[in-house]
């Protein structure tokens, strides 16, 4: 190569340019860009690549009302529409700001409820259960004809509907349907929130007038085992209690928790009075004793308004409380006598005072005779119908009849308690899917079932809670898919009404409860009048709203503007529109209290001369007392929402399923280890539990958490193990507060 470029020159050129290139930012920039690329979440592994998040381009908000418990919180759902698909999807839930009941707050269940539509235990077709956790699909028609056959077959047994949230439109449909049957029952299970109407009727003779707790104005709350800081009542009541506890000066609310268990409320109450198990009523009677003896109440007035406060007949309240002098109560409850006196004086001094006795959702309500003692205390305190006491609330109209009754009301089945039903009498049981917020141990239901054979139908959308005991599960629309209404929460003093309109259309497989009742009625050839059409929830709701509108009082909350208007200023379509879009009607105030007479010992009920104290006496050497504890929505799908693992499993905030707390001294005496496994035995069975030592728990107590098993990976629950609530002793009046138990290492 004479004048050409040699190979060496070429190499120099290439090498030189390579080095030169390296000195420019280009290669480094490329490296950096690739670095950023590898930082994208889809790189390099993981299943998240498959997870498509909705685009956040089209966001809208819908308002509705929460149906997870009867408390009627306003819910604002953030929806995203998926591009291309056009389908809406809920991507966020918050409370509706300014809502008269909840004012923008939601509980943990309500916030987590966004995932409920995709709950792993949601059923996607009507099924027939053929064994523990095993089921086969069944067509709706087949199921209905089976159920109809069962109903027509059960001539001796009764047909019952178990409705956890009474006074909804669907409740009236149930009552109507059951009323058409000759042997139908409409049953409400026990709840822990409000004042049982039966109790007020017996002590105050107020009929079906319902009472609520006016906690907004109270300055002293004596709570007998009511979880008032742990999911009790409406959010507004709850917030008001929190607010009032906080504020200084005269308005400051004092909260005294009388409870055996070291519940959440007991932990953070101003004062915790740890009475021995089953002696809450004794403590209440002790307080009554002190009040009467120290003239802390208007005894003359009480004598005037009550026949059984003090009379010569021998079964008067005075006679009863005479048996509960402080020394005796102290011996029973384990609380020093001077403490009792001190507390009573403070309660009597610090008015308005209110005595609450709902009971814990895990351990259920108190027995009626215990409730009488608490109610008596309320009467002594003068808390009936007064500001900061128990107040009656207005009634809501039924879709079938107006407020003041009509012919149609005769066709509605009467409302019964579970304890009213004779044991072994139910042949067909239809369980509504809604939740009362309070546990219902299966045995309380089971003992009412006919031993000769029974058919149980559940309308729950999930294979969870008591639905697992059903023979047929006809899954109703899930949360945010259901059309429903929410009546006044049972703890409230003011009537309210909300309509739940579905935000998402229910899947095809879901069975609307009213549709089911309609089909069943058709299959049973029940005569239908135009006004007793069970179908068309829309129609029924409209009827009810119409009747409400005609009352022309109260305010209507508009969820979209966050403001309230007078109902009288709204036309019916406007009212309906407000309600459908997450609004809420709220009454002007509590109802008028009729002139009442007090009946301390419970009217028709046989007065008890002596409230028996449970959990003592014939205890064996290693016999302890099992106290189930839970919070709102125990054992429901809402509590077993997978994301609830944050509370139960991924943090120590709430004890996970079948965990028991015992005092270290008790635990060590039983040979247990902190964090170890144990077996709890009662006369009803054995449960396997995890043991936690907690020095704040009363010795001799097994404080057990009632929580659904967080979740199972399969849709079907595996073999259902006995949980703590299953081994509780059920009393004849369907309460299960106290159970003697043994615990030993497993």
């Amino acid at each position: 190569m004479a004048n050409g470029i040699s190979r060496r020159d070429w190499m120099k050129l290439v090498g030189g340019s390579a080095i030169g290139f390296m000195l420019t930012p280009i290669p480094w920039k490329i490296l950096d860009e690739s670095a950023k690329w590898t930082q994208s979440p889809s790189f390099p592994y993981g299943r998240q690549r498959e997870i498509q998040i909705h685009s956040n381009e089209r966001i809208s908000f819908s308002h509705t009302t929460c149906t997870l418990c009867p408390m009627a919180c306003g819910v604002r759902v953030r929806c995203a529409s998926e591009r291309g698909r056009g389908s809406l999807e809920a991507v966020g839930i918050t409370g509706t700001k300014g809502h008269p009941i909840s004012d923008g707050s939601l509980c943990a269940l309500g916030v987590a409820a966004i995932f409920l539509r995709y709950h792993p235990s949601r059923l996607h077709r009507p099924v027939k259960i053929i064994g523990h956790g095993k089921f086969v699909p069944v067509s709706l028609d087949e199921a209905i004809s089976d159920i109809a056959r069962a109903i027509s077959r059960s001539s001796c047994e009764s047909v019952a509907v178990l409705d956890n949230q009474p006074d909804r439109a669907i409740s009236h449909i149930y009552r109507k349907f059951v009323g058409e049957l000759k042997n139908g029952f409409y049953i409400n299970p026990p709840t822990c929130d409000g004042v049982p109407t039966r109790l007020t009727d017996q002590t105050l003779h107020t009929g079906d007038l319902a009472f609520g707790y006016d906690v907004n104005d109270a300055r002293m709350i004596v709570s007998f085992g009511t979880p008032i800081l742990d999911g009790w009542g409406t959010q507004r009541q709850f917030a008001s209690i929190s607010e009032a506890r906080r504020c200084g000066g005269d308005k400051k609310l004092k909260l005294i928790q009388v409870e055996t268990a070291h519940s959440r409320t007991a932990q953070i109450a101003d004062e915790w009075i740890p009475v021995r198990p089953g002696t809450e009523s004794a403590f209440a009677l002790g307080m009554a004793n002190v009040m009467v003896r120290e003239r802390l109440c208007n005894i003359d007035r009480l004598r005037m308004y009550s026949a059984d406060f003090d009379n010569a007949a021998g079964d008067s309240f005075m006679k009863l409380i005479e048996k509960y002098p402080p020394a005796y109560v102290s011996e029973k409850t384990g609380i020093p006598a001077d403490k009792l006196v001190e507390v009573t004086r403070e309660v009597a001094r610090r008015k308005p005072a209110i005595v609450m006795f709902g009971g814990n959702p895990g351990s259920g309500p108190f027995r009626l005779d215990e409730q009488l003692a608490f109610m008596g205390l309320n009467i002594l305190l003068g808390s009936i119908g007064t500001k900061g006491g128990l107040k009656p609330r207005g009634k809501l109209p039924s879709p079938y009849y107006g407020l003041h009754g009509s012919d149609d009301s005769n066709h509605l089945a009467s409302m019964k308690q579970l304890s009213d039903i004779p044991d072994g009498s139910i042949g067909v049981l239809i369980m509504d899917g809604a939740d009362s917020g309070c546990a219902i141990p299966w045995e309380t239901v089971e003992r009412k079932l006919s031993p000769a054979g029974h058919t149980i139908v559940s309308l729950a959308p999930y294979l969870a809670g008591n639905a697992v005991h059903a023979d047929y599960i006809l899954p109703s629309p899930a949360y945010l898919e259901t059309a429903d209404d929410v009546p006044t929460p049972s703890s409230a003093t003011v009537a309210s009404y909300s309509v739940v309109s579905p935000i998402f259309s229910a899947p095809k497989f879901s069975v609307r409860p009213n549709g089911f009742i309609n089909s069943l009625a058709e299959a049973l050839n029940i005569r239908r009048s135009s006004r007793s059409d069970f179908s068309g929830m829309e129609y029924i709701l409209k009827k009810r709203v119409e009747k409400l509108h005609s009352m022309a009082k109260g305010n209507v909350f508009n969820a979209e503007t966050g403001r309230s208007e007078r109902l009288s200023g709204l036309s019916l379509p406007q009212f309906l529109e407000r309600l459908k879009k997450g609004g809420c009607w709220i009454d002007d105030g509590p109802a008028e209290l009729p002139p009442i007479r007090y009946s301390f010992l419970g009217g028709t009920h046989l007065p008890r001369n002596n409230v028996p104290v449970q959990g003592e006496g014939n205890n064996g050497p290693r016999e302890l007392v099992l106290l189930p504890l839970g919070t709102r929505g125990v054992l429901t799908a809402a509590q077993s929402n997978p994301i609830m693992s944050k509370l139960y499993q991924e943090s120590g905030l709430r004890m996970s399923a079948n965990t028991v707390s015992v005092n270290p001294s008790t635990g060590r005496a039983a040979g247990l280890k902190d964090g170890g496994k144990a077996r709890v035995r009662t006369e009803n069975g054995t449960a396997y539990v995890m043991v936690r030592f907690d020095k704040s728990v009363m010795p001799g107590i097994i404080q057990a958490s009632v929580v659904p098993l967080t979740k199972s990976p399969d849709r079907a629950e595996p073999k259902i193990e006995d949980s703590v609530i299953d081994i509780c002793k059920i009393d004849s009046d369907s309460t299960w507060r106290i159970t003697n138990a043994m615990i030993e290492p497993a």
Binding site: P25, W28, K29, A35, K36
Partner: protein, 276 residues
């Protein structure tokens, strides 16, 4: 990391840290590259021989590196640090400048273990002898000890006539099957003739003008050296659990290699020929 990478800042700490890091990387890479370039340049036979000898000598145990003057008792316990090259050794030149006081147990020509030492031969520590011929050329051959060790039926890769040899470079190879043994060249010079098996493997070398043979053992040094080498051999054999042992003070077996498996024998031979 670099000024145009996200997260880079012109903070003092950052600059100091990265400068140190880049310096360290530069030093590591630089010294490694230097080594690699040098190694590339080293890939020439002469240089490789030099390196090989350097390495072999470094690997010799101390007792195999005893100074020739320690054999004669001129110094006490000295170990050679100069690759057995006395021509450039200061100690050697100093010692040879003074009169000898010897304490060798052997007189010239005496034969330890029955090995013959030729008085007119110079010995290299790689078990070769050098005889200065009258015409100024040198004849090289294996000494008796090595002869006894080399395989009986082996081949030799003798250098071609005209090859230049270097002191402590490769003389020639013995080869038997896969095994191989290298004989160090005791002198510098050009090969002018080779003798094969029949002639007893020798090379004739023209050392050129400045033939310096000071590094070769002679006279009284040879006996003690040979004795120590026999000890070394005995030890090497002993290390392999003495398939063959030397009769104490007796005669070295003829051709002990024949009695020793080849694979292992290669090592013993190589050790004696100063290959590590």
């Amino acid at each position: 990391m670099l000024p145009w990478v996200y997260g880079f800042t012109w903070q003092t700490g950052n600059i100091i840290f990265l400068s140190i890091f880049y310096s360290v990387v530069a030093v590591i890479l630089g010294s490694f590259s230097i080594a690699a370039i040098r190694a590339f340049r080293d890939l020439k036979p002469d240089r490789l021989d030099e390196i090989r000898w350097h390495f072999d000598f470094e690997s010799l145990p101390e007792f195999a590196k005893v100074c020739r003057h320690a054999f004669t008792g001129e110094v006490n316990q000295r170990v050679c640090r100069n690759g057995f090259d006395c021509r450039t050794c200061k100690v050697h030149s100093k010692i040879t400048g003074v009169p000898r006081i010897t304490k060798s147990v052997y007189s010239e020509g005496e034969i330890p273990f029955g090995l013959k030492i030729s008085a007119n031969c110079l010995y290299h520590r790689g078990h070769t002898w050098v005889r200065v011929e009258s015409d100024g050329t040198l004849t090289l051959g294996l000494d008796k000890l090595a002869e006894g060790l080399v395989w009986s039926q082996c081949e030799a890769d003798l250098p071609a006539v005209g090859t230049r040899l270097h002191v402590n470079g490769t003389g020639w190879y013995f080869r038997k099957e896969a095994s191989r043994a290298r004989v160090l060249s005791p002198v510098d010079g050009e090969v002018i003739a080779v003798g094969g098996r029949k002639e007893g493997f020798y090379l004739k070398v023209n050392p050129g003008n400045d033939s310096d043979l000071r590094h070769l053992l002679k006279g009284l040094e040879v006996g003690p050296w040979m004795t120590s080498e026999v000890e070394r051999l005995e030890m090497a054999l002993g290390a392999s659990d003495g398939a063959v042992s030397l009769a104490d003070g007796g005669v070295l077996l003829d051709n002990i290699a024949a009695n020793y498996p080849e694979q292992g024998w290669e090592d013993i031979l190589a050790l004696m020929l100063l290959e590590s």
